[in-house]
Structure formats: structure tokens, C-alpha cells
Symmetry: C2
């Protein structure tokens, strides 16, 4: 790495920086993105981690697409070159040779392939700049999510994904052979984040894998996903949580837009993000009201908030409040886990719907030990099933609550991706455990 350790490697100049070296000899390195041979002269588009540059050769280009090359040459102005400058090659060394044929062309239009083709050829499709941009934006989401919480006194935690018992019910869990004992992959860090609130950290977050062994095959489900989990103590109610989430999302949207890679990804996908003023207008409506609004727009009676209802509720929020998001609150007790704070037959809970999809589930939790003991039998559970979990509340726990944002769902909705699998580097579904 160079002195500043940042934008060049030794004498390497990045493709995006050649304009600053007009008239100089430079070395650029990267992948041959595209080759255009015109007989007397050839143009190569060189791709590196930041951008692309045009390389000019007299005669034929020395090598073909996806070979990794190091090119020494002179920078010169050319108004027809992207960025106004090009490198006139003196010497080209292939430092990473292609062996054989690529199954799909990296410089092809991403939208000309279906999701299954992109995933069946994942090692190749991840090279497509527009595909790579999804994950550059995703990294920005994680950065700004974490930054916001750290600056609000939240501590990042890393908890075990191997759990001895499936506390949220045994279904939907992947079983692991742990030295001959059956354990499970955690569906969420729910109990751990509650334990850490109660430990005195008060405010915690985790970015980690979560697993659902559900046999669905929809454009909105993954069997392994990244969960952005938040839990906060000393809350008065769920409005504190929804305020926090709006703060987080506003910060993420601003941060993504302001970053080089985030802005480039939005542009590549023709997407925009709401600003903080818009997100602040997100309405908070009760479950019954949500059902009735959705039923009216769909034109038939609804027994629950199904995906169609989630879509029309977001349309309603745009029409009424000018924001593509809506909080639905007060879910019925039977639709929420046993640990949710009850309010008669309802709960102090919420979902956040964004651009037609539920991206968050959250709520206040039961922090009182006796209340939790009363709740268990209503869900067919016994205290003996949950000794560790119950001890969190036996030892003194503040009122608290939290939520989880699905990273891939947020990425999907930020960029308008049709299928959530496009927002996972190496998605796992019913049929797919490779690569």
C-alpha cells in the first residue's frame, strides 16, 4: 500500500484517478471489462474496485475479458473517453489469467438474466458491476446502522447462534449435531439481547445471521439472513422504539446517499431513498385500522395483514402522508410471541412496512417475572422449558423492547429488487446450498 494506504498500491493508480496524472506514466491494474478492436487500434475498458478507465492499444488488444492485468502507459486527454482521459498502453502483464469460458458475460445487462441464472452462476454474476453495487450499498447500510446506534450509547454484541433448545417453538429450526447432541441454529438473538439489556448494558445491537427452516419459496424469504437487531431498556412504550427506528433509517438513508458506493448503487438501479423529513411523517396505525384501510383498498374482507394488504397499506401511506412507510401497531396476542407485552387481547408491538414489504417486527417485552409466568401457559409452554430465559427476569430487569430489521429485505426495498435472493451474496433456499 502507498503512504496514505488508501487509493493506490505501490505505484498503482486507480482507474478513477487517471485524470490527476495527465501526461504522466502510470500503472493501472484491474479486470479487462470490455474489448473493442478497430483494426489499427483497440480499446479496453479496465475495471477496478472504484471505477473504470479506457486503455488504448495500437493494433490488437493483448488479452480478453476478465483477465486481470497490470498496464503501464501514458495518460492523455481524449474527450471521447469516459472521464475525458485514457491510458495509452506501453506494457501489459496478465497477472490473473482466465482459463476457459465464463458462463455469462460480466459486461452484459444484468436485467437480461433471471434471478436463477444469476444465482446458478454466482461466482461470475457477482463480477457484474450492477450486481456488485447491491453489496456495496448493503455494506453502507450496516455501517450507518451501527454508527447511529453506537452514537446513541448502544453496545454491539455477538451472541451464539447455537442454541440448546428451540424456545420459540421447535418448528422452523435447523438441527445441528453438536458432539452427538441435538442443538439448533438460532432464529434470532432475542433472548440474548434481552439478557444483555438486563445485564446493565441497557442498549444493545447485533448484526448477525439468523436461520429459518421454513420451506417457503417466495421473493421475500431466505432460510439464512442477516438480522439487524436492536434492544433498548428503560423505554416508556413502543413509541420510543418507533422513534428510534425512524432515527436509524433516516441516518442510513442519508449515509447511503452521501457515500460514493451507495450513490452509485442507487443510480445503477434507478432507485431513490426517502429523506429524514419524509420518514418522520411515517404514520402509526392500529392493527384494526390497518385491516380496515387495506380491506377497503383491496375491496374484500381481510382476516389478517397478508402480503397484498402490506402492499396497499404502503400505497395508502404514500397517498395520505407522502411516505412509502407505515407502522402497524397493536397486533393480536396470538400473532406475537409469548414474551410480547400484552394489552388485553392485543400487544404493545409493531411492524414497519416499507415499499409494500414488512421489513421490521418489534415490540415491548414482558420484563416482569410473574407476568411472564402467567403468559407461558397461554402459549402452551412451561417454565421448565425456559430456565435460562426466565432467570433474566428473576434477577431484576427494566422495561424494555426492541426490533429487528432484515438486512436483505431493506437492501431489496432500497434498490427495488424483485427477489430478496438478489440481495444475498450466497443465498440459501430450499434448493440452494451452493456456492
Amino acid at each position: 500500500m502507498g503512504d496514505d494506504g488508501k487509493r493506490h498500491d505501490g505505484v498503482r493508480v486507480l482507474a478513477a484517478e487517471i485524470a490527476a496524472h495527465d501526461g504522466e506514466e502510470v500503472t493501472v491494474s484491474g479486470w479487462v471489462h470490455r474489448v473493442r478492436e478497430l483494426g489499427a487500434v483497440s480499446f479496453v475498458v479496465l475495471r477496478d474496485r472504484i471505477g473504470t478507465a479506457q486503455i488504448v492499444y495500437e493494433g490488437a488488444a493483448p488479452t480478453g475479458p476478465e483477465n486481470v492485468v497490470r498496464v503501464r502507459g501514458h495518460v492523455g486527454a481524449n474527450e471521447k473517453a469516459p472521464g475525458g482521459f485514457e491510458v495509452r498502453a506501453v506494457e501489459t502483464e496478465v497477472i490473473g489469467a482466465v482459463s476457459g469460458e465464463l458462463p455469462i458475460s460480466v459486461s452484459a445487462d444484468v436485467d437480461s438474466f433471471g434471478i436463477e441464472t444469476l444465482l446458478d452462476n454466482r461466482i461470475a454474476s457477482l463480477r457484474m458491476p450492477k450486481v456488485r453495487a447491491i453489496f456495496e450499498l448493503q455494506a453502507e447500510i450496516v455501517t450507518h446502522f451501527s454508527d447511529y446506534l453506537r452514537s446513541h450509547d448502544f453496545t454491539e454484541i455477538k451472541t451464539s447462534k447455537l442454541i440448546g433448545t428451540g424456545t420459540e417453538g421447535g418448528t422452523g429450526l435447523f438441527e445441528v449435531d453438536y458432539f452427538g447432541e441435538k442443538v439448533y441454529l438460532a432464529q434470532s438473538p432475542q433472548f440474548y439481547k434481552q439478557a444483555m439489556v438486563a445485564s446493565g448494558l441497557e442498549r444493545v445491537f447485533e448484526v448477525g445471521c439468523a436461520y429459518r427452516a421454513e420451506k417457503h419459496d417466495t421473493p421475500r424469504h431466505l432460510n439464512e439472513y442477516v438480522s439487524l437487531d436492536v434492544e433498548m431498556g428503560f423505554i416508556d412504550g413502543i413509541d420510543d422504539l418507533m422513534d428510534l427506528e425512524i432515527g436509524i433509517l433516516s441516518h442510513i438513508c442519508e449515509g447511503v446517499r452521501a457515500s460514493r458506493t451507495g450513490a452509485a448503487a442507487l443510480e445503477a438501479w434507478g432507485a431513490t431513498l426517502p429523506d429524514a423529513d419524509t420518514l418522520a411523517k411515517t404514520p402509526r396505525i392500529d392493527y384494526d385500522e390497518a385491516k380496515s384501510i387495506a380491506a377497503k383498498r383491496i375491496g374484500k374482507r381481510l382476516f389478517e395483514l397478508n402480503p397484498e394488504a402490506e402492499r396497499v397499506l404502503c400505497e395508502w401511506a404514500v397517498a395520505e402522508y407522502g411516505v412509502e412507510a407505515v407502522f402497524v401497531t397493536g397486533f393480536p396476542r396470538k400473532k406475537r410471541p409469548f414474551y410480547t407485552w400484552p394489552e388485553e387481547q392485543r400487544t404493545a408491538s409493531f411492524d414497519l412496512l416499507f415499499r409494500g414489504l414488512e421489513i421490521t417486527t418489534g415490540g415491548k417485552r414482558i420484563h416482569d417475572y410473574r407476568m411472564l409466568l402467567e403468559a407461558l401457559p397461554k402459549f402452551g409452554m412451561t417454565p421448565e422449558q425456559l430456565p435460562d430465559y426466565l432467570s433474566i427476569f428473576q434477577y431484576g430487569c427494566p422495561p424494555h423492547g426492541g426490533f429487528a430489521i432484515g438486512l436483505e429485505r431493506l437492501t431489496q426495498k432500497f434498490l427495488g429488487l424483485e427477489n430478496i435472493k438478489a440481495a444475498s451474496l450466497f443465498p440459501r433456499d430450499r434448493k440452494r446450498v451452493r456456492p
Copy 2:
């Protein structure tokens, strides 16, 4: 949350902030850490996420240890109170009651308990401020690790932990039942981070879980740990990687020391961290030289760098270079995975030993497809076992390498913890899958 969203909840004032409210009525909330009853007057130490405050009651204290309370009272100066101020209680509400007995006292001396007792009573022991401090420091490590890499153009990735085949050999892998198919928990994101370097991201990092199904029971092994993984393209050799790691560790040490929680954790454990100038002196010695230095200090012939050798090599580095760290380079080919860049019978690889323990393994990788094909049979492998992995190199891949730092090992060595399990919130070992 308040207007600044940061240091108070509604009218809540944090324990560490009462001095700024001298003479005012405030509300503080937290856990009853300790109670001292003197008859006419009682003192309660209230603990919250940042610090502690003394609460004074006329007569008896209203409640006992670990109850969560909200206390309204007047702030007054008292030179005997920690910080010079106390809250004279007017009204106390128990908002999170203790039910039953705590198995260990939260205000007791951590060092009076063995590691097994601390882990057998994990929900209680995590409340001990000195235990909690371990994880507050750990969060700072993750923050500064990530920040440094982001500022050097590295992209954070999140890769699958469910892998279809055990590419690094079938032993040491936990088996998962994936819809009736056998898959495994990943030992490292090795192949994924290489794929992402080759995808064009060039520089990637991941903070994620890694799994080793090894039946060891030592103070330096965990079956589930957090791996801080780094991979970088367009390197000239392993010196680039070691330079990068010294940069990362310097930034982490500085960041931990400069942070409130990091500094407090170091103080609580009586630990110090090396500064950047010291780390820059870390020697880089060849494997044979390392063996001969260690053999000399131990006084017997060595066949490999065992834990004792790692300890004495760090002692040697302190004596010779004034730094508690040493890079050992050029490991024999048989001691490194098949994908390590060979140099005759040796490899372009390194370990970083710090305070007597190997905290990092890294190296340059084979990026040339044909060279990889030649390497496989030497390790008893066939191309048919690794079609996805091989395609990374078939499509054109730059010279690259990387390393992984074990988060818990680094935490352990930063604080001088005897057992690595103390550096994991919910450690998993041969006998422990709870809580």
C-alpha cells in the same frame, strides 16, 4: 428518548451526570448495585449503563440488590460520595423486581469466582461490571477494526455460514440437517472472501461466526467464535498483509484506549495496550529461525511451534524488540491449507503471536488456476470436490491474500484473561450449549 436522543430518557439523568444537576430534582434509573444501612440513614449504589451514583435514604433502603428502580430526588454535594455528589431520594419506584435469590452476588469480586462458576451462572455474572467491561471493550475492537478497513477502501461482506461441502477436510465440521440434506457450519469465510476479492471488490472484510467441531478443552479454544476476516487483492507479498495488520491493530489499540468503555475496561483489568510506535517494531522472523529461538529459550529440540514455543517467542520479542508481538513467516507447506501460495517446501504465510498466543493466521493465496490444480493432489484432493471454488480462479483473479483475527483471543490478550471463554458472552464448548 430526549431531544439529543443520547444521554437521558425523558427526564432521566444518568448516574454519571448528576454533578451537572447540583441542587436540582432529578430522576435516575438503574439497578441497585449495593446497599449499606446505617440505621438513621442508608446508602444505595445505583448502577446504570454508564456509571454509578450514591442514593441516600432516611432510614432503611426501600429495596435490595439487583432490583431495577426509578428514583426521584435532589442532587447535593457530598465529598464522601463517589464523584462528590449524591441523590437524596424523595420517591423510589421498583420498575423491575427481583424474584428470588441471585446465585452469585453481582457486587462481589469477579476474581473470587472460577471461570466455570461465572459461566454456570452466566445471566448473573454478565451483570458484574468487570465482566460487562470485557464486552464493552470487545465492541470497541469490532468498531475500530471495521472503521480502519472501511477507511482503506475495504467493503464489509456477509457470507453464508452453511456450506454444502467441507472443503478444508470433513473433520472439525458441525453437521446441519438442511431439509434432509447434510450441510456444515463454515469454519471460515475463506472461499467467500476470495470470491469477493476476485469479483472486483478487491478488498473485503467480514465479522462473523466461525465453527470448529474440535473436542479440545483448552483456555485458548472455542467451538464457536467470532472471526475478523480480511482479504486483499493486488498484493505483492505477505509484507503487505503484515503491514495492514499492524495498521489495524494500532488503530484498534488507539481506539480502545481513547474510548470511555475501552479505557474503563483496561483499568478494571489492570491491562495496558501497546501503542502504534511499539507495534511497528514487531519483528518478522522465518519459521526455522522461530523454532531455533524457541528451542534455545526452552532448552530442548522443537518439532513444531507448540503453545510453549509461542509463549517464549513473545518473551524473546519483548527482550529483543520491546514489543509483545512477533510475526512468524514461511510455514512449511504441510502445515498450511492447500490454497496457500507455495515457495518450494515453504509457503508465503504467517502467524501473528501476541502476548504468548497465536491470534492470527494469514497468507498469500494461490490465485492461478493451473497452479491450484497442481496443488490439489498434494493434499489428496480432486478438482471435482471444489467446482465452485475453482471457478473463482478460472474467471481471472488477481494476486491476493488475507488473514483472520480471532475476536475472543484478541479480547483475552488485551485484558489478560486466563481463559478465552471469559471473552465470549455465551461460549460454546464440548459440554456447554447453554445458556
